[in-house]
């Protein structure tokens, strides 16, 4: 059971370190958990809207009107999300050579220090190969999510084509 002395010590410690006080510090700390922003919904700024619109038009034009505007827009939006995840994955790949250089096993005593660091889990830090690989692995679920979203949009858009007269629809 927690003693009175421990509770008092916890309170004293909490008073000494209870997060940033300044506005700048708070703004910075609010970004501590930020990794790549893929978990958040994609913000639709003017550039993205125009890109989505252009892609939707291309899809519609190439399908000779077999897909309606709403369907094409849904596919285009999902495709932009796919492209966004792909860009983050590429950037992570681009950082991996730095990790290779840091992780390069050295001969002799340096090598064993590196292994010891790996055992302690310090090699999982961002910027190390293991850290970047973990980051890439973490992108898997975003890849799955955005691809599934786009495939759903495609299926919905093409649904009426597979049964144009509604004969087989429930």
């Amino acid at each position: 059971m927690t003693t009175e002395r421990q509770i008092a010590a916890n309170r004293a410690n909490a008073k000494r370190s209870s997060g940033p006080k300044s506005r700048a510090g708070k703004a910075r700390a609010s970004q501590n958990a930020y990794r790549h922003g893929l978990a958040a919904c994609m913000t639709m700024d003017a550039d993205r809207i125009s890109a989505m619109d252009a892609l939707a038009r291309e899809i519609q034009a190439s399908m000779r009107g077999q897909i309606d505007r709403a369907g094409a827009l849904a596919i285009a939006q999902a495709e932009l999300e796919v492209v966004r995840v792909r860009a983050v994955a590429s950037a992570l790949f681009a950082e991996m050579p730095n990790g290779f250089a840091k992780d390069r096993p050295a001969t002799g005593s340096q090598g064993s220090e590196k292994q010891a660091a790996r055992r302690q889990g310090t090699a999982e830090k961002p910027g190390s190969t293991a850290g970047d690989l973990a980051g890439l692995k973490g992108l898997d679920r975003y890849f799955r999510r955005v691809h599934a979203k786009r495939d759903r949009a495609v299926r919905l858009a093409l649904e009426h084509l597979s049964d144009p007269f509604g004969i087989n629809s429930q």
Binding site: Q31, A91, F100
Partner: protein
């Protein structure tokens, strides 16, 4: 934060890659798959990027093994009771391709019932966690590539079915008029 900003501003291809090569690969893949519309092109691009990522991962794995080889050789020499300084010098000479060092290492390995594949095996063992992570990433990229191809097949099939049913509808209209189609629809609703 700087890392994230750098990430978002960096280009899609690596310093060691050329954008032209990716374009050539895209052209080749499109020549094979022959996408008929923009939708099929999206699926084509999905497969292209996934196979590009698979190649990158394969290169990474190769680089990891190559980088682990000096340490692996050093470990073997140390286990064969070679003096530390001598082992470091021999590894450096061996890496630089010195034929004397190469033959010395070969002889030493042979004397202990080993050959140069022991160095590779040791290197594999040294970077096994990284290699298995790379293999997992490759597997997921292979799944993405295959899904791209199956998506292309799906959309093509749907479009073909739609064309066929349109043609069938036209033929039906020519032979018996539009009444039959509405009859068919009514029968479905009755069920």
């Amino acid at each position: 934060m700087e890392r994230v900003k750098k990430k978002k501003n960096s280009s899609a291809s690596l310093l060691t890659e050329s954008a032209d090569r990716l374009e050539t690969k895209r052209d080749k893949l499109r020549a094979v798959l022959d996408p008929k519309n923009r939708l099929e092109e999206l699926y084509c691009d999905q497969s292209l990027h996934a196979s590009h990522a698979i190649e990158r991962l394969q290169r990474c794995a190769l680089a990891m093994i190559n980088m682990a080889i000096p340490d692996a050789l050093f470990g073997i020499l140390e286990r064969l009771a070679m003096e530390r300084d001598r082992a470091v010098a021999l590894v450096e000479q061996w890496i630089s391709g010195d034929p004397t060092a190469r033959s010395e290492v070969s002889t030493m390995l042979r004397n202990h019932g080993l050959d140069e594949s022991a160095i590779e095996a040791e290197a594999f063992l040294k970077c096994l966690p990284t290699l298995s992570a790379l293999t997992q990433l490759q597997a997921s990229q292979i799944a993405i590539r295959d899904k791209g191809l199956s998506g292309l097949v799906f959309s093509r099939e749907v479009l073909m079915r739609s064309v066929h049913s349109r043609e069938a509808n036209l033929a039906l209209r020519q032979t018996s008029g539009p009444q039959q189609i509405s009859d068919q629809r009514d029968r479905k609703h009755d069920h």
